[in-house]
Symmetry: C2
Subunit: 192 residues, 2 copies
DNA sequence: AAGTAAACTTGACCTATGGCAAGAAATGGA
DNA sequence: TCCATTTCTTGCCATAGGTCAAGTTTACTT
């Protein structure tokens, strides 16, 4: 049940090999087909996933009904809607896989048990969350200080697989620009 | 040592009145004068504050050396740099008070002790963090879907005291616009 | 293999916001 | 109370990116 991927994700100075084994043992393998929803707006999440293979994105609808991609998930990353899972409230976001995916799922109840019985695990969780918060803030800062082109190039560096596999409109909405603008940015980039 | 403000901040379904008392007892009152720094870029935070009276902001410098306000803290809110405090790494942000402030401080070591000994406290912490993450994401979405004017009006509703007390340039950089633009937005708003 | 829908590109024009610079108003010492 | 800074406003012009609409190209479906 445990495999290299999970071991890597749960690596933490305060977690022993045995504890990591216990944590990994609570995960079950699940499969998704391109286009499947992992979570729909309005529902309460009661699990999270670790993405072994494939790509996913989260998105919301704005007042005009356009969908805005809020995040991309690549291999090794945790697919989760934190607010819904931890505050036990309906999700405001949707999560959908962009390609066929292989994931490891852990249920909230199992998570809760070890969260309180393994001290290092709540440390791990806090560290993960604090990193997420940091990245989210960085994104807001990037929206303020970087041009659309720069934001595109940063994404290209951070998540090259996304650029290769996600449709342009999802990338554009994530970057906060229109499809047309992104298409022009790409054209300009190609020339260089 | 405990007072209404702290009781309110630590209110949580899994925390008993006694536990909240224990938590509150670890806080010490501290004072800041307008302009004082609570945390400077490059240092590792080892405390956080609960703001009883006054206003503060966090900010970073962009590549041109302009300061970008990343957050405002109002009464009742927790002044904290999560990444630095919980990952024990140097802060990338600065935190500075905008007015004279009265705060309640708790040291990281004390926090750590009760984080692991009071189960409800780590739940409280997780809930708080998950709410912060949600707000940070909302901010990024707002940068994408809302006009500068709308962002201003939202801030005006959410933190009216900020608008009344922070200099325009801080508000402008927080909103991701220039001083001049904000000044024009205000003018337009006043007319209506 | 054909047909349809989705994804992407491109052109012409438009608009919100930026950049700069000058002046007015407010604020904070000494 | 006066001077020196900040802070804020405003005008003029520049520009990144938006809007709309017409093509292409690509990718599914049967």
């Amino acid at each position: 049940m445990d495999n290299g991927l999970l071991l890597q994700v749960y690596e933490h100075p305060l977690l022993s090999r045995e504890e990591i084994g216990t944590i990994c043992a609570l995960h079950k393998k699940v499969y998704f087909r391109k286009g499947d929803f992992v979570l729909k707006e309005g529902l309460v999440a009661d699990e999270y996933l670790i993405l072994e293979e494939g790509l996913a994105r989260s998105f919301v609808y704005d007042y005009n009904g356009n969908d805005i991609t809020t995040n991309f998930f690549a291999q090794n990353e945790i697919i989760i809607e934190v607010s819904s899972l931890f505050q036990r409230i309906p999700s405001k976001e949707n999560i959908q896989v962009l390609t066929d995916c292989i994931c490891w799922k852990i249920d909230f109840d199992d998570f809760q048990n070890i969260y309180h019985s393994i001290a290092g695990f709540s440390e791990w969780g806090r560290a993960w969350m604090s990193q997420s918060l940091f990245e989210s803030k960085q994104r807001a800062i990037s929206m303020i200080t970087d041009s659309a082109m720069k934001r595109y190039h940063k994404l290209l560096e951070e998540k090259p697989l996304v650029i290769q596999n996600a449709p342009l409109k999802h990338i554009a909405s994530y970057l906060g620009i229109t499809d047309s603008s992104l298409s022009r940015i790409r054209k300009a980039t190609a020339r260089t």
